[in-house]
């Protein structure tokens, strides 16, 4: 029987690869080490499939179609953005499990948008690149929720998507060992007047909710409050909510936190451990 054996929270900041030398050496090392810790934990947990939860930035989809939540069930590749400094390559999907998650969603009120051929952006490629690397045997199932473009998915619905993913993995006939990666955040103002600012106090509040396993605390944050206090990018805590809701009775161990103005982001890393 397949199961979700763990989860992780991490940034997907594109500047990590596009401007790798911008921050002070100590912070660069802290971020590199945090990704390495996650990579190591994935091996220790004997994970064979990761479900990567990201959000589009008007890169994959345009104003003509904005999926509320989407799953990639077929051929996936990335990144879309050449400026990341990461070569585009195919990403091995776990198609049978992805199709099962899709179907369980259809049967349980989560009407996924579905991509048969998905070109992934930095929100899913950065985590895959830094935690799995090229040539990894671990397969990736991409999930996109709309935490990046108005009108946003509600945080409650994001949690329901996470619960559905757990239900689907638990009911799968295979024997996969699955980890879920919630990506993005924490505070950042992408393209906004305050771009480069980091709200450390708010970031630590978000991490404290994760440590306590308090998903409801995150859900209770009003979107417009998040937007004004910590920027449009901070709304990506919805991606974290999906991951947190997928790991049963979870609490997070903080791996690292670095406020990095040069990467215009508060970079938080955590492991989600089931109770």
């Amino acid at each position: 029987m397949s199961e979700i054996v763990g989860g992780f929270l991490m940034p997907h900041d594109p500047l990590i690869s596009a401007e790798p030398d911008a921050p002070p050496a100590e912070q660069r090392k802290a971020v590199k080490d945090a990704f390495a810790t996650i990579a190591s934990r994935l091996k220790e947990l004997d994970v064979d499939t990761v479900i990567v939860v990201g959000d589009d930035h008007y890169t994959v989809f345009g104003p003509q179609c904005i999926p509320r939540y989407l799953i990639g069930i077929g051929d996936v590749e990335g990144p879309a953005e050449q400026w990341l400094g990461i070569s585009r390559r195919p990403i091995e999907n776990n198609e049978p499990l992805a199709n099962h998650i899709m179907q369980v969603g259809f049967d349980n009120g989560i009407d996924w948008a579905v991509s048969k051929t998905l070109l992934m952006d930095h929100s899913t490629i950065i985590p895959i690149h830094y935690t799995l690397g090229e040539g990894s045997k671990i397969k990736s199932i991409p999930v996109y929720i709309n935490s990046g473009v108005m009108p946003l998915i509600s945080s409650r619905r994001a949690a329901e998507v996470g619960q559905l993913i757990r239900k689907a993995v638990d009911s799968w006939s295979g024997d996969e060992r699955v980890a879920i990666l919630g990506t993005g955040g924490i505070s950042h103002w992408v393209g906004m007047a305050d771009m480069g600012k980091v709200n450390v106090e708010w970031d630590k509040k978000v991490l404290s909710f994760a440590e306590a396993g308090d998903i409801e605390g995150l859900i209770a944050m009003e979107d417009m409050d998040v937007f004004h206090e910590s920027g449009n990018g901070a709304l990506e805590i919805k991606n974290w909510i999906v991951a947190m809701a997928a790991v049963p009775e979870m609490k997070a161990d903080i791996i690292a936190y670095e406020p990095i103005p040069e990467w215009v982001c508060g970079c938080g890393f955590a492991e989600l451990k089931a109770a």
Partner: protein, 88 residues
């Protein structure tokens, strides 16, 4: 005023190189090819008044990407200056 087609014009500029080229070289002709753009919206695009478009609800992520395509990544200081200047 609607930001819907403004977002479409910006998104097409960052997605399709030929659209970006006509945005830069023949803006009036280019903007006239969109049915739903008002004259005021065309003016905002022509001037790349990013702060005003953001105030109207256009995605700042999209504005930043489109600015770099239309005006060049080397002009990001001007972009930030405009974003930090309240629109009239």
């Amino acid at each position: 005023m609607s930001i819907n087609t403004i977002e479409r014009v910006l998104w097409e500029a960052i997605t399709f190189p030929d659209k970006a080229e006509v945005f830069r070289s023949q803006p009036e002709e280019h903007f006239n090819s969109y049915f739903h753009l008002t004259s005021q919206e065309k003016q905002l695009l022509h001037e790349m008044d990013v702060r005003k478009m953001a105030d109207l609800g256009a995605s700042e992520m999209l504005l930043m990407l489109a600015w770099q395509v239309v005006r060049g990544p080397e002009t990001m200081n001007e972009y930030m200056g405009r974003m930090n200047t309240p629109s009239s």
